[in-house]
Symmetry: C2
Subunit: 341 residues, 2 copies
DNA sequence: CTGTTAGCGCTTTCAT
DNA sequence: ATGAAAGCGCTAACAG
């Protein structure tokens, strides 16, 4: 392997000058610089070793992004992806290092990054714990919500958005409303949610959205837990909800995410329940897919890409006064209408 | 900042032993190790600096992935994402560093990675050039195809798959067939493709698939270039194709990607052309979305996730005899039928 | 099981 | 404009 020193030696100059040729063009004559670069190229020298340069500079040029689930799964989630696109857009000059998942905390401990973006993980996520110990800049998105200022935080107004959604149904005249949630806690719980289980909710985003749904609703609605966040997880739950006789059946479903809402749409189509005539559906997130469902999904918009951009800015300190929670708002599309009759 | 040495000093032992406490638990007694770890934690020492460890070990623990387009765009492409999931699954223990895009070659020059996965880029992609100069392990996926063994390569049988698709249409009785391609060269060309332009094709995957389509077709079909790869890019092209009087209109469209095929489906629905009764459509890639279109898309399957896994294996040399081209095959779903009449 | 000795390849004052 | 000196924080023989 050929190093800075070899190049310097070959030219009979100091290795400092060679280093400058790469990093401080102003510090030497253009012609010398060119000679250095040419000789270096001729010797097969590829420029300063990034690892060595990083060590002495104390930084790596990459940002680490941490997800709650395995990376392969996160790359499946439209909301996570849109967020990631925002991050990518804002940190164009840097590499984006995606970290593997909740296990493998060691990878986080040894990841060569300048800071962490932690996207919606549980408070006991081993990777999150490891990231906190690294003493690097860090920003948490969505959850865990800090107590006080334990860590920089960026979220959205989940509760407010959910409340708008519930009110919208109420305004349309719906009274038999069900709520579909992916998970209240880690693990594979499926089925109707008891009030005990509801109280046990650990996911903070779920808790907020649920609080928003329940606030305007006088009588507590039926809540159903799907055990996972894909549309396929929502299908059996929706089928169960739609199995009741039309007169007693729910006329609207509040899905905690657009993915779940898509599952509801699939189930409704499969059992011949017309949306929005027989059933209204509202999602949450407003991922790009929400605009392409049939019919297009009424949902609560949150600025996912902006959140990604802002996360980078908070991390790099380049944002003067980052807001803690970004606004959400209901987008009325075509899956909501007055109840039948 | 507290270092390995500080910890060693505080304990009155050699820094090697502290290092061993982290990296070679077997090399010292459990109780000493524990004492070291505890003291270290008490002093706020977070374990060996990854950058320094990387320098002396000569490796970083991350893989770099390079896309043809901006990262934010790549995260939009279902095929790229499925590939990436395969990569992520296989390199679970490592960080995955996504590199920004074709500009910013400097980021590639200075990226702290142990190797590069280059996903379907043009031969003159500045990032690709920079990556090659790094003298790190590298594997190119899809394109550019190496002349001889310029670089390790992994692709799929694009031509064979395309040929199967064309034959299928022929077998069904189609004679008026059109081909939709995203782009033949970089840049925003849209419209019917002349034979000159066809010959000028620089994208190798496009060239291969085109060759596969054309081979079984006696008379050359109409070829239309969309100028981009999203469904939205395909819509105007499809509308133009479908504007002809039914008796003279194409009865089938071969779309070079599933994304394009989705655009065709959207256009057909918009102008009231029934698929597959009035129009057959075949995509390419078999991304997950292809199974969720309405009707489900007939398409050529390529093993995208496997390709990602294999790319990692080729890169790490952990695969004994990596194949150069993985097989493709036609998946007949519901967008193909005999032509009308 | 523990410590000594050498660097890894580079950047960065600070003189010249 | 150039170079000498001094590490960055760590790992890995090797010897005890």
């Amino acid at each position: 392997m050929v190093t800075l020193r070899d190049v310097a030696q070959a030219l009979g100059i100091s290795h400092t000058t060679v280093s400058n040729a790469y990093n401080r063009p102003g510090k030497l004559s253009d012609q010398l610089r060119q000679r250095i670069l040419d000789t270096a190229a001729g010797m097969g020298y590829q420029g300063p070793d990034p690892l060595a340069a990083g060590l002495v500079r104390g930084q790596s040029g990459a940002l680490g992004v941490l997800f709650d689930e395995d990376l392969a799964y996160a790359l499946t989630d439209p909301a996570a992806l849109l967020f990631l696109r925002g991050v990518a857009g804002r940190s164009a000059a840097q590499g984006l290092t995606l970290l593997p998942g909740p296990h493998l905390a060691d990878t986080v401990r040894t990841a060569i990054v300048d800071g962490f973006i932690v996207y919606s993980v549980t408070a006991d996520h081993p990777g999150f714990l490891a990231a906190r110990r690294r003493n690097l800049p860090l920003v948490v998105v969505d959850e865990p919500v800090p107590a006080g200022d334990d860590w920089p935080y960026l979220g959205v107004d989940d509760r407010g958005g959910a409340e708008q959604a519930a009110r919208h149904l109420l305004d349309l005249g719906h009274r038999r409303i069900a709520v579909l949630v992916d998970r209240l806690t880690p693990g594979d719980h499926r089925g109707p949610v008891s009030s005990d289980r509801l109280r046990a909710t650990t996911y903070q985003v779920a808790r907020e959205r649920l609080a928003g749904y329940l606030a305007p609703l006088g009588t507590p609605p039926a809540i159903w837990e799907c055990g996972g966040g894909t549309p396929e997880h929502a299908v059996p739950a929706a089928r169960a909800l739609l199995a009741a006789a039309p007169a007693k059946r729910v006329t609207a479903i509040l899905a905690m995410t657009d993915e779940l809402a898509r599952g509801v749409l699939m189930a409704a189509a499969a059992v011949g329940v017309a949306v929005p005539d027989d059933l209204s559906v509202i999602g949450f997130d407003d991922v790009p897919e929400a605009n392409r469902t049939d019919p297009p999904l009424t949902t609560v918009h949150q600025p996912l890409a902006d959140k990604g951009r802002l996360a980078v800015e908070v991390l790099t300190g380049s944002h003067p006064a980052p807001p803690q929670r970004l606004p959400t708002r209901l987008i009325t599309r075509a899956t909501t209408a007055p109840p039948p009759d």
